[in-house]
Amino acid sequence: MKRIWLLCLFLFLMTLWPAMTQAQDQREGLRILAALERKYAELKDYTVDIQVHFAIETFRAPDLQAKLYYKVPDKMRIESRRVVFFPRDGGYFNPAQFGQEDYTVLFLGYVTYDKRKAVQLRLIPRKIKGATQDMVLTIDTAKLLLQEMLLTQTGGKEVTAVFTYGTFGGFELPTFIRLILNLPAAEPGMEQGFGAIPNGGEEKRVQGEITITYANYKVNTGLPDELFKKNKP
């Protein structure tokens, strides 16, 4: 009888085990995200010169230069005398954007990224504000650096942002962001005139890259809120 009870207890604990492991992983994911947030807690604002380079077949533009202003938690402004197309998601570094209260965080596992240990987390926005429906972050666990971000957006868009860092004013900030795009060629539901004959159900997609180079960082200069009143993102 005693043996049967022990067996039942063992089986009960076995059923709980995956849930316990999952909860532990979940806590680990949240801990890393919180640590990343703490690492940049003292970063209040920055100003940086940017150069945007497009390598997309259907997006023919020369390299564009502009000045980018950022202030926590989500204020951003692009200033340029010329016309500039700047990627809305993944185009600039905002360490305050991964607030745990805004996302459901799922731990995907540990990976090796650039020969270093990294963790992959999936963030699903609790309230969808922009085009992004979910994000997969690859974070270097030792350096606490966001290395890669895969954004899945509405309309079947996929954007992968790859970050390269330098140290400025005591903070590790991007010197280079490479955005790899995989987008539908046309907006959903847009007719292409008379010639819109279905092409065997195959959807045309646009693939390409946008690379953004960051230089001349000025960190924590006390940017006023008024600066962000026009052209808010």
């Binding site: 023919r60 533009a61 809305r88 185009g91 957006q153 060629a185 046309a186 907006e187 008379f194 010639g195």
Partner: protein
Amino acid sequence: MTLFGFEAYKTFSRWRTYISFGVLALIVLMTEIVMRVSAKEIVNSMMKPFQRDFIIAGNIVNAWFITAFIMNSLHFHIPFLITLVAGDMVSSEATAGTVRFLLIRPPSRQRILNAKYLTALFYTAVLVVFFALLCVVVGLVLFGSGDLIMHRLGQFSIVFIPEAEIPVRMLLAFVAAVWSMTVVASVAFLFSAMAENSIGPIIGTMAVVICLLIFGNLPLDFFRHLKPLFFTTHMLLWQGFFDQSIRWLEIGTSALIIGLHNAALFLIASLIYRRKDIKS
């Protein structure tokens, strides 16, 4: 040249010649003023596919953008305004009863026809140049300058032309626009050489232009094969100057096809006019 001078004087001394200029001025001014008032709305609707993915900074709705936008309607309203005069060039002599007085003079029929055709082309060029100057000057006053952004409606497709390159490209585009409109003048001139009144050539030319535009856009293989032969297909050759790199081969081919149309249409007009019976 003297005959051309006389014909040009006759054409530009008629008040009806200026109807086209007035209509063009009205179209351009109304369009630009309305666009000035609702610039934000235009940017939102035209850049909708990009605004979700990009933050767009800088002056997009500028003089060059507006000019290119209005130029897109070139093949609709300008042909009609051209036919008003080109369709009247030869037939008006019959309507006014002056054809016999004109043709018993020493200059040959061919020389008279040459002068009239050159006048029709000259009028076409003046009309397009007037349109260009109006678009650019009013545009610069109302919207200022900037880079030119061209995009295909509803598609993830952008062409970005730096401000420094635009004046030359715009000039070339308008030269191409003048050339493309000469084919409409040639069609109207041919009908005018065939007719005894001006209404027929005007309606006939517009009917040809509209039919060819419709046929060229029908998704049927029969018309797809014929499309490269329609002059309406090549009337948009000016758009080749607004790609990232100028599409010279495409522009050259279209210009050549338009030139061949012009030559053929004028040749037919000459044959008809030289054999025309003016005694009955």
